[in-house]
Structure formats: C-alpha cells, structure tokens
C-alpha cells in the first residue's frame, strides 16, 4: 500500500505538468492565433508567468506543510484541488487578465487559510462550544449587507462588504460554511431526540428551522436566490444524512417546488430566469444573451476544443465568473468538461470517504455537509449553464473567479484535509 507522500507525488507530477503546460500554451496563444511569430510579445506576459509561479508555490507549499504537519492525510485532496485552481486561474486569465491577478492573490490568501485551518483547527470539536456565537456572527455579517452592502461591479445585488483598497468580501460565502458547521453540531447533539423511535420531536426542530429560515430570508431579501437555494438543498441533505429518512427529502422537495412558485409570483428576477430557461431562443440578443452565447461556446468547443487561447469565449458575458464552464468547454472541448467534472467528482468521493471514516457524528456530518455544499453548488451552476435548471449566479468551486468563494472553498478543503488525518 502506497504511503500518502508517494501517492501525493504520483498525483503531483501530472498536476504540475498539466498546470504548467496549460500556462505555457496560453502564453504561446498570441502567436498561435495568427500563425505568425512576428507578433510582438504581449506586455502582460510576465504576469502570466508570475501567476503560474504563484500557483506552483501555493501547490508545493501546501503539499509540503501537509506532509510535515498532517501525517496520514488524504493524498488526493491537495493535488486535485490545486489542479482545478490552476486551471481556473488559466481560464480567468484567458478572458479577464486583471481578474486573474486578483484571483492569484486570493489563491495565496486561501492557501494560507487552508493550511491554518488544517494545522491549527484541530479536530473541530471545539466548534460545538462556539456554534451559536459563530452563527450569530455569520448572520450579522450577512445582514450587514442589507445596510452597507456594495457590488464590485457598481450595479446589481449588493451582496458584498468592503471596497477599501479594492477588497470585497461576500459574507454569504462565509455564512455558508458556518451554517453547515452549525447544522452538523446541532444534528449530531440532538439526533436522538429529533429522530428517535417515538417520532420527530418538533421542539428540537424549531431552533433549527428558525436558523435556517432566518438565513434564507436574509438571502432572499438580497435577491441572492442561488445561495438561498444552495442553503435549502444542503439543509435537506443534512437532515436526511442525520435521520436516514427519505421523507425529509420528499417533503423538502415539495417545499422547494412551492417556494419556486411563490418566487415566480413575488420576484421579477425569478420569473425572468425561469422564462429564459424555458425558452432562451425567444430573446437571444436581449435577456437570454448570456445563456445563448454560453451554449454557443459549448458548441464551438466540440469534442476536442478550440485550444487554449484560440476560441472566442470573451463573447460570453461574465465568462470569468458564472460562465467559466463556457470558457473551459470552448477551449478544451467536451473532453475538457469531462476532465473537470471528473476532478469535482473525485473531490466529492474523497469528501464522502472522509465522512465515512470519522467515528464521531459531528465530524461525519461536518465532512458530509461540506462535501454536500461543494457538490450541490457545482451542480446548480453546471445545471444553469447547461440549461438543465434556471441560472442561479453561483460560482463553480475552484474554477470561477470569486475571492471569498475561493478562500471559503479552500477553508472547506482545509477542514476535510484535517478530518482525513486518522486519529
């Protein structure tokens, strides 16, 4: 049986190779695009080199620290996480170099956060003592956006705090992790009372529902319907995981359908998104422009893709964030999409394995909850871009531009990494 470091090295080699190859192909794209070596060297090419070096440093640094301080950790997590991060950096560079530089900075911050959580977070049982404090802090921070929230783009939903030194933080992303950890702690402690042989004790559901409803209301009032859907689905799955009873999933599914209908009645944005989903061809140059252009990017990529830097993904609006899948599909083709989905699936399997192997209920639910967040968020945005479900405006974990999203996702993996260490 291979030891973790040997397994990590086995994965590191192709990850480093693919990542550097990706950056190299992007660097050569200006010449490849016109098949002419006389094109002058782009002025910002050194930034691409810097990004590649930063990514490599984060990857190797994380692996080295984990090897030193986390013996026996899951050897698959870090290589696959950083493979997707590097790919995301390259894709963002392709369509918005300025954002790629910012994402690089957030990658460095996120790597430090990942390592801090993994090395100093312990086994996270201490969180159970401070769960209400953490939850209140997260809710307060998110509620603050109702008062002083901003949008980095200048218009649209004001979901961010900050703007000082051009730094913006999206509290809902932080709240996402806090709510999952809270749910894990609460369900682990109250499981017997809530799902006992005598049937559900509603008294124990009340605070849980209260927390969940309050969180969702804040998000709905901010029109962050993607995040509120993510919260709802994660809550349902964790209830099912804690109880083992599919009834909660069925009831939740009914509630979700009802909420969707109510949303269509109450919110213009929901009506618009549903109508675009149902028939994007009715207004391809207007409201459905992003959806149609995203599908065109998928079509243009075909099976093998146009090649890094050789497609036209800049035709898709917000392609560095919501629609990064369109960039990937156009330049790397369906095979590239398969590879990315395989990476996400791989990470989810490792997350489920971490959950299964932890003996303590809280840690099981924590690992399972975080993995659920990762997968459900991926499915929601993938589904939106591929027109399986209405578009929700979430980020594709590790691949999309989004500073807070990247940092919180890396923290999520830091927790999984720590929980993967055998007791």
């Amino acid at each position: 049986m291979s030891t973790p470091i040997h397994s990590t090295r086995l994965l590191l080699l192709p990850v480093v190779g693919l990542g550097l190859l990706n950056f190299a192909l992007l660097a050569l794209a200006p010449w490849a695009r016109v098949n002419d070596w006389s094109v002058p060297v782009p002025a910002d090419l050194w930034r691409l080199g810097g990004l590649a070096a930063l990514w490599l440093a984060c990857l190797l640094g994380a692996v080295a620290v984990a090897h030193r301080y986390l013996p026996g950790h899951d050897p698959h997590l870090l290589p696959v996480v950083y493979w997707l991060c590097g790919w995301g950096l390259a894709l963002i560079w392709r369509v918005a170099p300025a954002f790629a530089v910012r994402q690089g900075v957030w990658l460095a911050v996120g790597t430090l956060a990942l390592l801090a959580v993994a090395v100093w977070g312990g086994d996270w049982r201490w969180f159970k003592r401070y769960r209400y404090t953490a939850l209140l802090a997260g809710l307060a921070l998110t509620a603050l956006t109702l008062v002083v929230g901003v949008n980095p783009g200048g218009q649209g939903a004001a979901l961010w705090l900050g703007g000082w030194w051009n730094v913006f933080v999206q509290p809902a992303e932080i709240l996402k992790l806090i709510v999952v950890a809270f749910l894990a702690a609460y369900l682990a402690d109250r499981r017997e009372q809530m799902f006992g042989a005598r049937g559900p004790a509603l008294a124990y559901f009340v605070p849980l529902m209260g927390v969940w409803v309050f969180s969702v209301l804040i998000l709905i009032s901010q029109r962050d319907l993607g995040m509120s859907t993510l919260f709802f689905l994660t809550f349902l799955v964790m209830l099912y995981l804690a109880s083992g009873q599919a009834l909660y999933l069925l009831a939740g599914g009914g509630l979700l359908a009802g909420a969707a209908l109510a949303g269509m009645t109450l919110f213009e944005v929901v009506r618009v998104r549903v109508s675009i989903w149902l028939d994007p061809w009715a207004d391809p140059l207007g409201r459905s422009f992003q959806v149609v252009q995203g599908l065109l990017a998928l079509a243009a990529g075909g099976v093998f893709g146009r090649g890094p830097g050789l497609g036209a993904p800049t035709l898709v609006p917000v392609s560095h964030s919501d629609y990064v899948l369109a960039v990937l599909a156009e330049e790397w083709g369906w095979l590239g999409v398969l590879a990315a989905l395989t990476g996400l699936a791989w990470l989810s399997v490792r997350g489920w394995l971490v959950a299964v192997r932890r003996p303590e209920p809280f840690q099981q639910l924590l690992a399972a909850g975080f993995t659920t967040v990762l997968v459900v968020q991926s499915l929601l945005i993938l589904g939106g871009v591929l027109r399986v479900v209405p578009l929700t405006g979430l980020t594709l974990p590790l691949l999309s531009y989004g500073g807070t999203s990247l940092v919180t996702t890396l923290v999520l993996f830091g927790v999984l990494l720590r929980l993967s260490v055998p007791r």
Partner: protein, 443 residues
C-alpha cells in the same frame, strides 16, 4: 452519527447528477452543435476572420472595393467606396453580415472549395483557409458616374450589360457607410429613409407607365395589334383620365391631343389607351407575359429580395397601366429593357464574375440561370424601335398622390441599358440622370 447507507446514497446520487451534466454537455457540444453554430448570433466565424481575413471584393478592373486591413490577428474590413455599401454589404461582429459579403462569404473565406477532410482538419486545429479574392461585374468608374448623377435624389440607377447580364453599376440613394456601421447602427435602424435598403435590387415599386411597353408587347405577341396599326391607327380619347385611388391619372404630356396612335400615346405617357388594351387582352394573355418577363421570380444575385406571386385576382386594366398589384425592382426594369435591346433575349443578371484560386487562376462562377427568350424577336424590335431616346414614365405610388419617376434606355450600340428610378422626382429629372450616365457609357 449519519447513516452510512444514507451517505452512500447521497454520494451515488450526486455522482449520477455529475454524470448527467457530462452527458448534457456532450449534447450541446456535439449533437446540437451544428444547428447552434449556424445561428446568425454566433459571431465566431466573423471573429475568426480577424486571424484569417476573407479575400477582397474587386471590381471588374481588379480595383479593390472591400478588403481586410490591419495587423495580423486584428484584421478589419475596409470599404474603399462606401456608396456601394447597400450592395457590398458589411461584416460586423455585432451585427453580422449582409449584401454580397454574406452571399459570397463561403467563397471569400476560402471555405467553398474545401473537401470534407480539409474542413475537419481546420476545425480540429482551429485554423481557417486563406481568403479568396472575388471579381465582381461592377465597374467603379461607371458606378461613380451613376452615383454622381443620382446625387441627392432618393432612388436607384442600374447599368446593365444587355448581352451578358453583367451589372456594371448599382446606385442606391440614400446609402450608408459600412466602415462606420458599428458606431451608427442605431441611427441607421431608426432612419425613416432606410439607407441600408438596396433600392436597385431589393425594393419593389409601382411600374406605372413602364407597363405600357409590356401591354403593347402582349398585344403584338397575341396579334391583336400589328406594328403598322401601332404606328398609324388613331385611338379616340387617348388623353382621357383614369381614376386610381381617388386620383385622376392623366397623360405625362399635358398637351397630348385626344386622337393619337398608340405609339404616340406611349411616348406621351397616356394611360387610357393601354387600360383599354389591357382590358381587351385580359389576364389570360397578360399574366403569362408578366411571368415570362420574370416579374415574379427572384433575381439570382444572392441579395435579399421580396418576391411576389402573380396577383389574384388579376385586374387586367390596372395591371396594364402599372397601377395594379404587380411591383418591380429597377434591376427587373433594366432586364426588360435589355430584352427589347437584344431581340427578345433577356439575360440572366449577375454580380459575381469569378474567384481566384491559391495558384492565382481566375475561376468563373457557374451561371445561376441562362438567358431566355422572353419575347419574339420581331415584337422586341418593334418596341425597341419606339425608344431610340429612351423611355420615361411615372407611377402613382400611394393614396397621398406621391408619384415615382422612371427612365430606361439603351446605348445606340445596344450594349448597355440604363434604368433610373426616382422616389420623388419627375420623369424629366429621371431622364436627365439617365442621359448623363448613358453619355459616359457611349464614351
């Protein structure tokens, strides 16, 4: 503690969902791709032209009319003679293609003559073939004269070579500048004068007095009239007026007497005798003639056109004086005139002459249609003999009494036909413009 079974089920469900997403991505990227990529709002083909520019559009003397300019990878289309924009069209990332740029896109981009293997190889490598130059039938000096003569008049001038069908000039005013398309799009779309409309090819107008010629042709062809009677037999009340849409249509020549021959009535622009003649000939004789003159078939030029079917019911009297439901484009009028000049043989019009291979050889385009006999030679000669100085006509175009002006003529050697349409001018003005263009051709 979470139930292991529940956990396994959730894991399986999420992995299945990811697999479904992979299949859906394959649907959009492979199965639905051909239809998606053919959509007009897919700008990728045009974006590719910045890297692999399309070939130039040249006039018949190989003078560039439209060509790619700019550094490699940043090529844009430049139009050397913007007054031809309504014919040449445009290539724009934001607004697509139009005109000849759209009609000849496959040839200009070099894709028309690729094998399937070559196409597949280019798709795989994300490359494109080199663009191919296309030589048009347009003659830039003649085009300049036509545009200068038309001036500020809204309308069209067509110069057609009657033996070959080559269009030497297509003037359409007002026009627009395709070099400025992106910055002026909103203005152009909201302009009530429709500068992007190609009035020579794509617009259809009431023919009015032009139809007197075809009515005479119908009568001669059906032997209801002889050439001698045309020139000698008087018609009573030839200068009578006809009510059309609440207006009284009278002779163009206000001094025309009541007793005239049909030939005199034709040149005086008197509608009454031709309405009578049309009534006598009836739809059974006139409608087939209209069809033989290709009034209801699209022109094989690759440019957008409105095609009409034969009117039903066919009101022979009003159709005979060009105030029925039949409308014509200036190019169609030029073709009719060409058939008179060429003893009844109507040429097939063409704009694109040849394309150049990578080896530098000019390959002619296969003719889309052949010339056809639209009138018996003797009928055509009889009518041509009436028009040594050309023929001018007017048409009532709306209920407000606005009139169109037409002029059509051929050069003394019958090689070229010139047709003028003015949307709000007089027949005399149309004739003056036509004579100016003819003079340049005769030189």
């Amino acid at each position: 503690m979470s139930t292991p079974t529940a956990l396994v089920r959730v894991a399986q469900a999420t992995l299945l969902a990811l697999w479904v997403m992979a299949l859906v991505a394959g649907y959009w990227g492979v199965l639905a791709a051909p239809d998606l990529l053919a959509r007009p709002d897919n700008a990728r083909a045009l974006l590719m032209e910045r890297r692999y520019p399309r070939g130039p559009l040249l006039d018949r003397n190989l003078t560039p009319l439209a060509q790619a300019q700019g550094a490699p990878g940043q090529s844009v289309r430049a139009y050397a003679y913007p007054q031809l924009s309504a014919t040449l069209g445009h290539v724009s990332l934001a607004y697509g293609q139009s005109g000849l740029e759209a009609a000849l896109a496959e040839t200009l981009t070099g894709r028309a003559h690729l094998t399937e293997t070559e196409r597949w190889w280019h798709d795989l490598l994300s490359t494109a073939p080199a663009g191919a130059p296309v030589r048009l039938t347009l003659d830039l000096p003649t085009q300049r004269r036509a545009d200068a003569a038309l001036g500020a008049h809204p309308g069209a001038v067509v110069v057609l070579e009657s033996t070959t069908g080559d269009l030497w000039a297509l003037a359409s005013h007002p026009t627009y500048d395709a070099n400025m398309l992106d910055s002026t799009w909103a203005e152009l779309m909201n302009d009530p004068h429709a500068p992007m409309l190609n009035r020579a090819v794509s617009a259809r107008y009431q023919p009015g007095g032009l139809m007197y010629l075809l009515t005479l042709a119908g009568a001669l062809n059906a032997q209801r009239l002889t050439p001698a009677a045309l020139m000698t037999d008087p018609v009573a009340e030839a200068n009578a007026q006809i009510g059309v849409a609440g207006w009284q249509l009278a002779c163009l020549d206000r001094a025309a007497p009541p007793r005239q021959t049909l030939a005199q009535a034709l040149l005086a622009g008197c509608p009454w005798p031709f309405a009578q003649l049309g009534d006598a000939l009836e739809a059974a004789l006139l409608r087939p003639l209209w069809q033989d003159m290709r009034l209801f078939t699209p022109l094989p030029l690759g440019l957008p056109q409105t095609t009409l079917s034969a009117p039903a019911p066919f009101d022979a009297a009003f159709e005979a004086i060009g105030q029925g439901q039949t409308t014509v484009s200036p190019v169609q009028v030029a073709l009719i005139t060409a058939s008179l000049a060429q003893r009844g043989q109507q040429p097939a019009p063409r704009l694109a002459q040849a394309w150049q291979t990578a080896a530098g050889v000019w390959q002619p385009f296969a003719p889309a249609e052949a010339s056809m006999a639209s009138l018996p030679p003797d009928v055509a000669e009889t009518l041509a003999g009436l028009l040594p100085h050309g023929y001018r006509a007017a048409a009532l175009t709306n209920a407000q009494g606005q009139a169109l002006a037409w002029f059509t003529a051929f050069t003394p050697n019958r090689r070229f036909v010139v047709t003028v349409l003015l949307e709000n001018g007089t027949p005399a003005e149309a004739e003056a413009i036509g004579q100016e263009v003819l003079a340049g051709l005769e030189r």
